[in-house]
Symmetry: C2
Subunit: 415 residues, 2 copies
Amino acid sequence: MRRGGRPGAADRRAARGAAGGGAAVTAGGAGEPTSARSARAALTRVLEPGDERAGRWLRQLGPDELLRRFTAEDGSAERLPGMTAARLGGYRLRAAAADPGRDLATVAEAGGRFVCPGDREWPSQLDDLGDARPVGLWVRGRPDLRLWSLRSVAVVGARACTPYGAHMAATLGSGLAERGWVVVSGAAFGVDGAAHRGVLAAGGATTAVLACGVDVAYPRGHAELLGRMVEQGLVVAELPPSAHPTRSRFILRNRVIAALTRGTVVVEAALRSGSLATARQAQRLGRFAMGVPGPATSGLSSGVHELLRGEGVLVTDADEVVELVGDMGELTPDRRGPVLPRDHLDASTARVLDALPYHGAARARDLARAAGASTDETLGRLYELHSLGFVEREGDGWRLTPPCPSNDDARRGGT
Amino acid sequence: MRRGGRPGAADRRAARGAAGGGAAVTAGGAGEPTSARSARAALTRVLEPGDERAGRWLRQLGPDELLRRFTAEDGSAERLPGMTAARLGGYRLRAAAADPGRDLATVAEAGGRFVCPGDREWPSQLDDLGDARPVGLWVRGRPDLRLWSLRSVAVVGARACTPYGAHMAATLGSGLAERGWVVVSGAAFGVDGAAHRGVLAAGGATTAVLACGVDVAYPRGHAELLGRMVEQGLVVAELPPSAHPTRSRFILRNRVIAALTRGTVVVEAALRSGSLATARQAQRLGRFAMGVPGPATSGLSSGVHELLRGEGVLVTDADEVVELVGDMGELTPDRRGPVLPRDHLDASTARVLDALPYHGAARARDLARAAGASTDETLGRLYELHSLGFVEREGDGWRLTPPCPSNDDARRGGT
C-alpha cells in the first residue's frame, strides 16, 4: 500500500521477501528463510517496541496472521481484543509502508542479520519480557548475540555525566572486559559511550542496544564509535533500518538492555532518569541493579543514591560487579569448565578451541594464525568460548579451562 | 596508698569522699552521696574502659567491695575469676594512686559531675554494653545527659577528611539539630569537629564523648571548641579528670558513642578505620549504621562504601537519617505527644513547659524571660522537652505538640 497498493499487498511483499531475499532472511546460517521471519521483519516496522497488546496478538496468532490482519480489510483486525479504530489506523498505515524484503536486504548489505525468537542466536533471556519481548532483533557485528549475552552486564548512566562518571564508566568497562564479561550499553553520550570505549580499549567485548535502526548513526557524534562496535562488537536494535529514535523508544530500549544482561550498573543518574528505569526494570526481571556511589552533593549521583537506598547494590569496581552477577546465573565464576557440549560448537569456534595449547596460554594473534582466521574473528570466538566455560584468560593470553572436579557439575546447564 | 598508705586506705578515702565531698559526689541533685559513687569514681581511674572481666567482678561484688579487694592484701583479689598476678599488679598500682575525692572535687570545680548507673541522669541504653558498660561517666555541661541522649545520632568519621567530608559532616550536624536531634561525636579533628560545629552554628544540641578526661583539651587545637561545648552542650568521658587518650582508649570510647545513640552515621572513613568500628558496634547493639557515599575513587570513602555494601544504610542528608532512626526506638516522629508524665519533669523544665503559649509558637528568648532562666538554659530544657515529645520546633520557635489522636498511644512507653 506504500504506493497505493490494495489489500494483500503487504502479504505479497512478505512472500516475495521470504522467497527472493534468500541471504537476507537467513539468520546467521541457523535457520531457513520463512515467511514468518519476513513477517516479523515487517512487524518491527509496524509495532512500536514494547507494545504488549500487540505482543499478545502476536503470541496468539503468529506473525504471518497478525501481519495479514493489519493489511486485510476483512474485519479480522477490528475483532482483535483491545483494538480500537484509532490504533488500527496507525497499524494499517505502517503495515502498508512496510517492505521487509528491502529492510532485510539493507541490513544484509551492511553485514547484518535479523534474529528471531527461536533462532539459535536468539538470547532466550529476552523471553522474560513476556508479551513485551522484541518481535525480533536487527544485529550488526560478527559475534553470536546469544553467546555474548550469556555473561553480560549493562553499564548505563547519564548523557551529561561528570568527568568522574566518565572515568568510572570507562574503568568498569575495561575491568569487566578484562574479567571476560561482555558490557552492554546504549551508545549514548556520557556514561554509555565511556563504558563502550573502556571495553574497546581493553580489547574486550561490548554490545550497543540502539533506540533506532542499526544503520543509523545516533548520536551523530558517535558515528565512529558505532563503526568500531560493528567491527569489534555488536550493534543491536528492535527497530528496523533507518528508524529514528524517539523519547519513548529510548525508554523502551532500556527494557532490552535490562533483560539481555545479568545485571545493570548505573554510574551516574539524576532522579527520575532513564538509567534508573533500566535498573528498576532489571530488578523486576530478577536481575541485579547496581549503582556506583558519588558525592552526596552531586545531582548526577542522587538518582543512583536513591537506587542504593532501595534494593540496589553499591559497587565501586569491576570485581564487586562480577562478585554479584557471577553468583546469579547458572554460570558462576566458581563453576569451572564448559556448560555446552563441544560438538554443539560451530566449525569456526571449534577450530579456535582446537588451536589452544593443551598446557599454558597462547595469545589471540597466535591462535588466529593456527585457526586460520583474523585476530578480530578469533577474539570474538574466544569470548564465546569463555562465555561457555571452555577457555580462561591468563594475562594477555588465553588457556583451556582446567578440568573441573565433577563432570556432572560441568554438564549441568548444557543446552 | 598514693603516699605509701596501708591496706584499707582507699576504703577510708572513699568514705571520706562520700562524707566530705558533698557537692562533688552528688549527681546533679538526683542522688545522695554514697561510698558506692566514690568507689565508682575511683574505679574509673583503676579500670581501663571496656574491661569486661572487671565489669563482671563489678556486677558481682559491687563497687565498694571490688575497690576494697584491689587495695586489701587478704588474698581476696587473687581469687577473682580470671585474675592473674600481672593483672592484679596493675590494678593495685592504680588503686593505690586513686583519689576519688580529689577527682570529684576537680570536676565539680569545673562545673561537672559524675553520673553512675542507676542515677536519674544515667542513659540506660549504655546498659546494652553488658559488662563493658562504663563504670560511670564524668560529665560537663548543663543539659541532662539521659534526656539529651534519647533522640541522639552519632556523626563520626576520618580525622584527615576531605573538604567534601567536612562539608557533609557540618551539613548533617546542622540538619539534625534543626530537626531536634542531638548529635554525638568524638571531638576529633576532621569529621567529628565539623559535625559539632555544624550543630553549634545551628543553635542545636551536641555531645562530645572523649577518650580522655573531661578537663583535658584534646586535641589541643579543639580547646576552644570543647570550651564552647561545655557552655552550650555536653562533654562526657569514662576516664577520670586529667587522664590522657591512648590508641586503645579511642577505640573503646567508640563503643560508648555507638551505645548512647540510636544510630551512627559515618561520613568519611578509610578501610579498617575506627569510625567503621563504631558503626559495626552500633549494628551489634541493634542501632542503625549509616554511611554517606562519596566518590568510588576516594580512599576516604572506601570504608564507608564497604559498610554500605553490608548492612549499612546509605544516607545523603539529615532527613534520610531521621527517617531511619526515627522509626527505630519508641519515640518515632509519627508518634506525637509526650511519652513521660508531666509530673516527672523537674521544676525548671516544667517552668519552661509552662511558659509555652497554648496556641502557636514562641522563641526561646521569650520563653527564657517567661520562665526566668537564661536562653542557653531554656534551650537545653526545650531540647529535653522535645526529646520527650512535649514540644515541637516551628521555624525559629517552639510550640506545644498538638494532642495526639489516642491518649493510650501517647502514654505507651512512658516511664
